[in-house]
């Protein structure tokens, strides 16, 4: 019973922390978004979740960065309000690269908000491409780090980074449930020869068909979480990647897994004798589950993945998940997994009651 309470506590915790903890400050856009070389540029930077007015303007530093060594330093910084900052730049006549235009990143360092960065914020154009210059000389160092409980700011996805705690655990629950289902199918086949089955009967109240019911219940709950993961993923993808379906490995694998378990249920229900149906369904469950594993190695060679940890690895790299997110993400996974097993167990208990009532067991 304790684990059911734990699952509720963890899910409620992840819901509250996942929705209420603020995002770190970031830069949404700068204006103007293009400038000419040799120009005196007055740039407005628009922040997200920022509190620029909390510090005196001469403690704030602004750069337009070309690469790790070359950048322009902003002068005469003015704070218009909490989310708007103005800085002027004298853009050199020569660009650091002999091309017609370069993209620069905007960086703001603020004593209270910490450092925030917008990649490819502004484009600098130039008429001739004959020569180039070195932009070194501005020193980006001594940056402030915001040390409080907040989630990282990412461009394009913004607040929807919180979906990490709601959409991603669905995929983990699906995996755990399908592994449990395959394991119960293995157990069913192991105990299915007459000698073993007799030994099983002597243990109180356990019958061979229990393994089949468990396998089916776990598969059904896994199917539910698979569908939820797919639908929520499509909603998120529509607003983060621009398309609901993009032949991503994880989308493809979930779709194939759902097909397998739908076929499993059709196979299981197409026999009159329950023992025969259970046996063949168990065989198919193991066969199909094992044939799903190669997809993890094959598909990454064919489709580029938009998901983090793109090489088919279900875990995240360290740059995708910081320590603050881990404190919500891992409890969410544990909570949802326990909840999935709880649902599956309810389904299994119902099926056992039904079979008892109809005299099948």
């Amino acid at each position: 019973m304790w684990w059911k309470a734990l699952s509720v506590v963890l899910i409620v915790y992840s819901l509250i922390a996942g929705t209420l903890v603020p995002l770190k400050p970031g830069i949404t856009y700068v204006s103007p978004q293009t400038a000419r070389s040799g120009q005196q540029l007055v740039l407005q930077l628009h922040g997200y979740n920022s509190f620029y007015a909390q510090s005196p303007a001469n403690d704030i530093r602004v750069w337009l960065q070309y690469d790790s060594a070359q950048a322009l330093t902003g002068q005469q910084i003015r704070v218009l309000n909490d989310t708007t900052l103005e800085a002027s730049f004298l853009i050199p006549t020569e660009l650091p690269r002999p091309t017609a235009s370069v993209m620069l990143n905007a960086i703001i360092d603020h004593p209270a908000d910490g450092v925030s960065l917008l990649p490819s914020a502004i484009e600098i154009v130039k008429d001739s491409i004959a020569s180039q210059a070195n932009w070194s000389g501005s020193n980006i160092s001594g940056l402030h780090v915001k040390k409080d409980f907040s989630f990282p700011y990412r461009n394009v996805i913004y607040e929807s980074i919180r979906n990490t705690y709601f959409h991603v655990p669905m995929w983990f629950v699906l995996m755990f449930l399908f592994i449990a289902s395959a394991w119960n199918s293995v157990q069913f086949l192991r105990f299915s020869n007459p000698a073993q089955a007799a030994a099983l009967d002597e243990q109180k109240g356990r019958s061979l068909l229990d393994f089949d019911r468990k396998a089916a219940a776990y598969a059904e709950a896994g199917l539910l979480f698979g569908i939820l993961g797919l639908i929520t993923g499509m909603l998120w993808a529509h607003y983060a990647w621009g398309a609901a379906w993009s032949n991503d490995i994880k989308q493809l694998m979930t779709a194939v897994a759902l097909l397998i378990y739908l076929a499993y249920f059709i196979l299981r229900s197409s026999f009159d004798e329950p023992e025969k149906g259970a046996r063949l369904a168990a065989v198919y469950n193991i066969f199909a589950f094992a044939s799903l594993i190669p997809l993890l190695y094959i598909v990454p060679r064919m489709f580029a993945s938009l998901h983090p940890g793109a090489t088919g690895n279900p875990a995240f790299g360290s740059e995708d998940l910081d320590n603050t997110m881990r404190m919500v993400f891992y409890p969410a996974i544990i909570g949802w997994s326990l909840f999935g097993f709880w649902l599956a167990q309810l389904r299994y208990r119902y099926q056992r009651l039904l079979d008892k009532a109809t005299g099948l067991d």
Binding site: N163, F166, M170, I231, L235, Y239, L343, Y350, L354, A357
Partner: protein, 79 residues
Amino acid sequence: MKFFKARIFFTIILFLAISLPTVLAQGNRDYMRETGKINVVIGVIVLIFIGIVTYVLRLDRKLTKLEHQLKDDKNGWTN
């Protein structure tokens, strides 16, 4: 669970899920992309909630049926 017809309910939910994003994207305001796309998170949470509640409701209905079955013939118990 007689107070609403499950099938009609699901049809409405499905219809809303398909049509809402298009409706919301009409005009100059895109509600899903406003305020840092926070509504996408709300949408995801609501979808998960609907999915799980649907599953539990189905189980509930099956259990009710089983209860009726058991009430009808008490001889159904073999154990």
